[in-house]
């Protein structure tokens, strides 16, 4: 079973929601759609479900055009950001609902409910109503109702976004084993969070302003972002960027730092380019002899889970440094930052394409669409 989108576009009230989408979804595979808010993730999921129809292009399932097939005739289920359950029905009745509508025999319904509720750890809650459950439990019920149908296409639109981070922490590994073991359906999961995409694994589709920027294996895309926008979207905090000029054997960064044009950067063409560095690769301590060093001022230190993001300012450049552990820095205090030239990315300043990536990690080339 494969679901194919060819040159698909979607407009609404003169607003472009999606443009020139070419994607293939295969049965038994798990896809993560990553993009910022308003990138077009929900629009894409609604097209896949049949809730919306494209304004151009073709959507086929096993070669058959399915654009005209109404949602109720499709074997599709969807989980939304906001957990949707029937408040007047207990958990069991909520989950049984789609099966009863489909006219399944009672013993089959019982068997499927037992299986899915055991899988999601909600077997003890069958007689409770949604209002008596925590947010995480409610989302599990909504997920159970979607899974129990054994749909061909399971769509999840940022299902964890409304849960607090302790619940997300708990549900992500459960999702990963659940979706990783899938063999029968196409599963598409959307998120704004790079960490969630990496944690869930699978194939990635990176969307920005209604266009697909990159597809492929999630880890390969992380290490070889096709363009500057992907590097931003696929890093949290977004990858730090600076304009640079390649002249002779030197690379001159916009803030005045000068690097040798060597190692993986040796092949950069002369002229302007954009240099990127991950927050993770900016360090407070020196790690190698050829580290570059700069003095900066602290704008804010933010705590994120078990890490500290230090927003720094340096000669008109605003960067973010990721530090392990929880630390605090006074606003406006001075700080010395080190980074290794071997960790830099380079992008074209003309079209944003990746020119060079640190080469010690995952090999293989990135696929850039369009």
């Amino acid at each position: 079973m494969s679901l194919i989108l060819e040159a698909v576009g979607s407009m609404a009230e003169d607003q472009m929601h999606l443009a020139d989408i070419n994607l293939t979804f295969e049965k038994g595979a798990f896809y993560v759609v990553l993009g910022a808010t308003l990138a077009g993730k929900t629009s894409l999921l609604r097209l896949l479900s049949g809730l919306d129809q494209p304004t151009s292009g073709a959507i086929t399932m096993d070669g058959r055009n399915i654009v005209e097939v109404p949602v109720w005739k499709r074997r599709v289920s969807m989980v939304y950001q906001q957990f949707i359950n029937y408040p007047h029905l207990d958990v069991r009745a909520n989950i049984a609902f789609p099966l009863q509508r489909a006219g399944l025999p009672g013993d089959e319904i019982d068997a499927r409910i037992n299986e899915v509720t055991a899988l999601l750890g909600i077997g003890e809650l069958l007689r409770r109503r949604p209002g008596e459950l925590s947010g995480g439990q409610q989302q599990r019920v909504a997920l159970a109702r979607s899974l129990v149908k054994n749909a061909d296409l399971l769509l999840l639109d940022e299902p964890l976004v409304n849960l607090d981070y302790k619940l997300r922490e708990q549900l992500r590994p459960e999702f990963r084993s659940l979706f990783g073991n899938n063999t029968s359906a196409i599963i598409v999961y959307s998120t704004t969070e790079p960490l969630e995409a990496l944690m869930l694994g699978g194939r990635i589709i990176i969307l920005d302003e209604g266009r697909v920027l990159q597809t492929g294996d999630v880890h390969e895309a992380f290490h070889n972002p096709a363009c500057e926008t992907v590097a931003r979207v696929f890093n949290d905090p977004p990858m730090n960027m600076i304009s640079a000029d390649v002249a002779g054997e030197r690379i001159i960064l916009g803030d005045g730092l000068v690097l040798p044009r060597s190692g993986h950067l040796a092949g950069l063409p002369p002229g302007p380019c954009r240099i990127g560095i991950r927050a993770n690769d900016l360090n407070l301590e020196q790690s190698a002899a050829d580290d570059m060093e700069l003095a900066a001022e602290v704008q804010l230190s933010e705590v994120n889970g078990s890490e500290t993001y230090i927003h720094i300012h340096h000669n008109e450049v605003s960067w973010v440094v990721r530090e392990d552990g929880v630390h605090s820095y006074a606003l406006g205090s001075g700080i010395r930052i080190r980074f290794n030239p071997g960790r830099l990315f380079a992008f074209s300043s003309a079209d944003g394409r990746l020119l060079a990536a640190p080469d010690n990690l995952v090999s293989g080339s990135a696929v850039m669409e369009g």
Binding site: D164, E169, P194, M199, L300, V303, G305, G325, S328
Partner: protein
């Protein structure tokens, strides 16, 4: 601005004199120094709103006393306490201009017009609202509206404290850091006592110099963000603060350390405290501090590598120690052994808990 002192303050919504377990806020004492940035952090239902309402005077505590700069305000109404509040959703006068919104609390107190103009200008400059002063407040974005709510607290020089209840709820995630920075700047510049209530660990830890972590009506720990992370006084704090959570492993007393299952962890400085503690013992260590190698040795525990979660910049390695799960956070640059590994738990980052409470080394 005021120093806020809580003396044995507790609250029960049911009849007074009930059992302590029924208290929405269990009695405790604490002092918040004048000019500090504080946060009340905990899951919903933990008692943080009750706590906030006791400070503002919306709730009168069942027991204990509240003092502002040494003055007993327990019996005073909210209006008499000079408290400014910022809520989840911006509370503004939509038809008034930004200037008149900011001036409102002063006009209510019959402050002279020239003085009002001076104060409004000062606060508007601090909040970067100068260019919007003549605009109707309804035209502003959600974050600017939230700044007006805050500004109305800042214009009054007599305010004892500014209480912020989940103030970033309506703010776009990409804008949050700017507002967090603004709040920090204001606290640093004006030295107003600020109390920030939230269920979000990151917000509390970013804003406050001291965070009170609460659970089920109890204040579990009050400390700097770094203390909460590195030295959780209760297993709840170890779990609630940080992601992934602290590893909490049941253990028993052994000579010069503790046993996890049948494996000995040498902890010379903690051994004595562990041996004399009452209640079930647990060992706590954050995934960041677990060291992995492929060689056995003194103090190393043999484990199986069950799964490696590659998160781009680092790996979360799931380890199995005779059926107990332990997580380790290891940078992607560091090589990992295959399947069998040995872990070391450095004593300076390891804590022992008895009935959930951290034991002090050497006690």
């Amino acid at each position: 601005m005021a120093r806020i002192e809580l003396k044995d303050v507790g609250h029960c919504y049911g009849p007074a004199g009930g059992r302590l377990e029924d208290y929405a806020l269990q009695p405790f004492s604490h002092v918040w120094e004048d000019g500090g940035a504080y946060a009340l952090l905990g899951p919903s239902g933990c008692g943080k709103t009750t706590f906030l309402n006791i400070i503002s005077g919306l709730v009168h505590p069942t027991r204990g006393r509240v003092l502002f700069d040494g003055r007993d305000v327990t019996a005073l109404a909210t209006a008499q306490r000079n408290i400014a509040q910022v809520f989840q959703f911006p509370v503004i006068y939509k038809t008034k201009t930004v200037h008149d919104n900011l001036a409102f609390p002063l006009r209510c107190r019959n402050v002279e017009e020239t003085e009002i103009r001076r104060r409004v200008q000062e606060v508007a400059a601090l909040l970067n609202l100068e260019s919007s002063l003549k605009k109707p407040a309804r035209q502003l974005t959600a974050d600017a509206k939230q700044l007006i709510s805050l500004g109305r607290g800042l214009v009054r020089e007599d305010v004892a404290a500014i209480l912020l209840d989940e103030p970033l709820t309506v703010i776009d995630p990409q804008q949050k850091w700017l507002l967090r920075r603004k709040l920090k700047e204001i606290n640093t510049a004006l030295k107003q006592t600020m109390v920030y209530v939230t269920h979000d660990q990151n917000e509390a830890m970013t804003f406050a110099d001291h965070v009170a972590v609460m659970d089920q009506g109890k204040v579990m720990q009050i400390g700097t963000p770094q203390e909460l992370f590195e030295c959780p006084q209760h297993t709840f704090v170890g779990w609630f603060i940080g992601s992934p959570a602290m590893n909490i492993l049941p253990c028993t007393v052994a000579e010069g350390g503790v046993m996890i299952k049948d494996k000995k962890v040498p902890l010379p400085a903690l051994a004595k405290a562990a041996a004399t503690a009452a209640g079930a013992l647990e060992l706590g260590i954050r995934p960041e501090f677990v060291q992995i190698s492929d060689t056995p040795g003194a103090g190393a525990l043999g484990v199986d590598i069950r799964e490696i979660e590659n998160l781009g910049n680092y790996n979360i390695v799931m380890l199995d120690l005779d059926g107990l799960e332990i997580k380790a956070k290891i940078s992607v640059g560091n090589p990992l052994p295959d399947r069998k590994a040995f872990i070391r738990l450095p004593e300076k980052s390891t804590h022992i808990y008895a009935s959930g409470q951290r034991l002090n080394p050497g006690t």
